[in-house]
Amino acid sequence: MNKQISRLALVGIVLISALILATTYWQAWAAGGLADRQDNAIQQVAQYTIKRGLIYASDGKTVLAANKPTKTADHILYFRRYPKGPLTAHVVGYSTRFRNRAGLERSENDYLTGANGNLGAVFSTEIDRLKGQTVKGNSLVLTIDANLQALANRALAGKCGSIVATEPTTGRVLVMASSPSYNPNAAEKPDFLQIVGRIKGGCDYVAPLLNRATSGLFTPGSTFKIVTVSAALDTGKFTPDSNFQDPGYCTEYGKPVYNSGNPDQNGPEQFGSLSLFTGFQHSVNSVFCNVGKELGAATVLDYAKRFGYYSVPPLETPINERAPSGLYKNHRLFRPKDPATQVDPGRLAFGQERMLTTPLQSVMVTSAIADGGTVMKPFVVARVLNPHGKTIRTTKPDELGRAVRRSTADEVTKMMIAAVTGGTGTAAQIPGIQVAGKTGTAETGVNHVNTTWFTSFAPADAPKIAITVVLEQQHGFGGTTAAPIARQIMQAYLSRGSK
């Protein structure tokens, strides 16, 4: 019988070997895929045994996201708490126990849970795990200035809109406000969406969860003239002194396009003979309409792309929370195959047509002009700290590319200064500091209800801050509603900087 017994023994050993192989399959091969499954209840808990890294404002002290330890039978779990509430809700986002995440909490999850970073960080995380200690994530220090952000939020209170401010020479995002905001501490509640739904704002489409700064698409109106005038000068087809005749309208496709349709323009209805410089200063549509016709839509769009239009602006927040700017058709980015026939160049030139722009894109244009024509990559995470507080990564300023020549940028700067000193943007003047800016007032289709803009930088000769303010459903104009807010924030920042 021994032959049979030996064979049976082999069967027994093969059976148990199969178990070892199957265990290897699940623990080594399939583990990653299973961990990612939405219904993985183990992961839902286990990831909160990790003490997530904190998120700080630019001072490295103001805590924007902290941990709240909760004891269960197995572990101490660390859930999120947001001490500053709505202050930076759209940038920081939230992370709940059911793995709903938004903002940096979502996109920087690997750093915050210590799962990513450099080799040393991964190594120390594994050591902690082996030693049975609580795994601690890496902390983030943002570029957001908490005081300036608070000021921006106060300025936006009761309104729908957004404020984005950057440091033009580096691309550091100083302010990224979106109104109305929400309290990320409520994200944990089962009726979070109802709570958010009850938030009221000064517009029809309230959408408090939307980060208007990066995914709010607005008609840029006259702020787009910065792009058009950059194209006009950079191509060499126009100079600031190029002369135009303004009869109060511009003729396109045999029909007049009237200036009177432009609530942003100031001064007389008909300027008669004027220069491109004056046309920019007073935001005269007929001038830009003619510039657009002369350049052609393709050239204007090409320059827009150089400033970052038609691509999703780089930032550390999740990609689905950022939208590309450009022409839109049926709620989708429209890339005309033949711009000459498909796009109205005159209306495009003064920021109508179907052009839509995010506040972030707008401030990128302004920053580029301020920085002598180079587009800096915007960033919101300044540093990553390991659990002991040591910096393991510092974001270095990075150029996205050159939009226009330095000489073009300097000439556009002069025009923008003129717009503030004696044009449409006088409300942005700061005593003792030269401000360069451009207003925008885009009609919404409802009479006397406009999307108002102001985008500017200061000091004009050595820019420290660039800012875009956009407000929805306003009865005033860019120069009267948005410009004073921009001035207030620039002034607060610059007066502090000089101390």
Binding site: W26, A31, D39, T72, D74
Partner: protein
């Protein structure tokens, strides 16, 4: 006691059983200290019965052979016990339990050993006859096949049926060296099981869960009567257990560091300390620990078969081979079910799982192996 009664027995088996039981109690303690105390008590009872078995049979366990039909009948009675109204209990869709007052017992565990004793005796007597493979000898084979099917229908549990029939085929093969029996038996079993599959919803459900534990869209959920994703309904347990195993990865979370309750304090995996103890161990000990555990089982099985090889008489060889293969097959059926190698069935992991009947039965099984081993080694000296 082992040293006194079976001085020449295999020296590895008892320590390995002790190790497995210790791992089991440790993990059960980690999952629920109260259960660990009860399990400890059961181990004490099991050790007493282990000692009683050794003492009673220390002179010559082969007297059992004379009572083989008693064991056969006993096995059948034990198997039928859960079906008796009033004391039988259905747990998780399978009828495996007997309830007498506060006392719960799974008679199938003991029936397994009784069956092996019966088969060892019966096959030793009839092996020459069976080996000639005459048509009239196929009768008893069919009877036992019928019995396995009865067990399947009776208990609603594919795992027990597979275990009993598997042991039977293995012992039949050892006794007769006829692979034809195994082949025919396997075909009959598959045919029978397919028939039962058509009739018994519980078995059908187990197969469906095994093949398609995840669904993309909602399917009919028998538990609620509504529609739900299968991973949130019938295969909830299997899927959560797989998540648990996967979470262990290579090194495991470490004992006591695993995750078995959610943030609200509710248990994530039902039956974690009985049927699913392996997924708890795999999470906390990782691939390294789980493989180590399985290697202990493999060693145990290897030593068991070694005993069968060195045993001198047919009854002893069949007994040792049957006990060892039963042990191996049971381990395969439950762990293989958890690992989705085969449909999941609710039987216990020998020595490790929480459960009195299982611990007692396995220590008695161990006693049997030690007795055979002792005799064989003593004769060789």
């Amino acid at each position: 006691m082992a040293r006194y009664t079976v001085p020449n027995a295999d020296p590895y088996l008892l320590p390995m059983a002790g190790l497995l039981a210790a791992i089991g109690v440790t993990e059960i303690y980690r999952l629920g200290p109260n259960d660990a105390f009860k399990q400890g008590l059961w181990i004490v009872i099991a050790l007493v019965l282990f000692a009683v078995t050794l003492l009673a049979l220390r002179h010559d366990y082969r007297v059992l052979e004379s009572y083989k039909y008693l064991f056969g009948i006993g096995a059948i009675l034990l198997l039928l016990l859960p079906g008796v109204p009033g004391i039988g209990t259905t747990v998780n869709g399978a009828r495996l339990w007997v309830h007498v007052g506060a006392f719960r017992f799974q008679p199938g565990e003991l029936a397994k050993i009784f069956l092996i004793v019966f088969l060892a005796g019966y096959l030793r007597e009839k092996r020459e006859m069976l080996a000639q493979f005459r048509p009239k000898d196929v009768g008893p084979l069919l009877v036992i096949w019928g019995g396995a099917m009865l067990v399947l229908v009776e208990t609603n549990d594919l795992g027990s049926a597979l275990l009993f029939f598997g042991i039977f085929l293995a012992m039949l093969y050892v006794a007769t060296d006829r692979l034809l029996y195994v082949g025919a038996g396997a075909v009959l079993f598959v045919v029978g099981a397919a028939g039962v599959y058509q009739v018994v919803g519980h078995v059908r459900e187990r197969i469906t869960i095994w093949l398609h534990p995840w669904t993309d869209g909602p399917v009919y959920c028998a538990l609620t009567g509504g529609k739900a994703l299968r991973q949130d309904c019938q295969s909830y347990q299997l899927v959560k257990s797989l998540y648990s195993i996967a979470h262990g990865s290579y090194g495991g979370t470490g004992l006591g560091k695993g995750t078995f309750v959610n943030a609200e304090g509710h248990s994530i995996i039902p039956f974690i300390n009985t049927d699913f103890i392996y997924s708890a161990l795999a999470q906390e000990l990782g691939l390294v620990g789980a493989s180590g555990l399985l290697l202990v089982y493999m060693l145990f099985v290897a030593r068991g078969f070694r005993i069968a090889l060195v045993a001198t008489d047919g009854f002893s060889k069949l007994l040792a081979a049957g006990l060892t293969f039963g042990f191996a097959l049971q381990t395969f059926i439950i762990v293989g079910g958890i690992l989705r190698l085969i449909p999941l069935t609710g039987i216990t992991l020998p020595f490790v799982s929480y459960g009195g009947s299982s611990v007692v039965a396995n220590f008695v099984l161990l006693a049997g192996l030690l007795l055979v081993s002792n005799r064989a080694n003593t004769e060789r000296l």
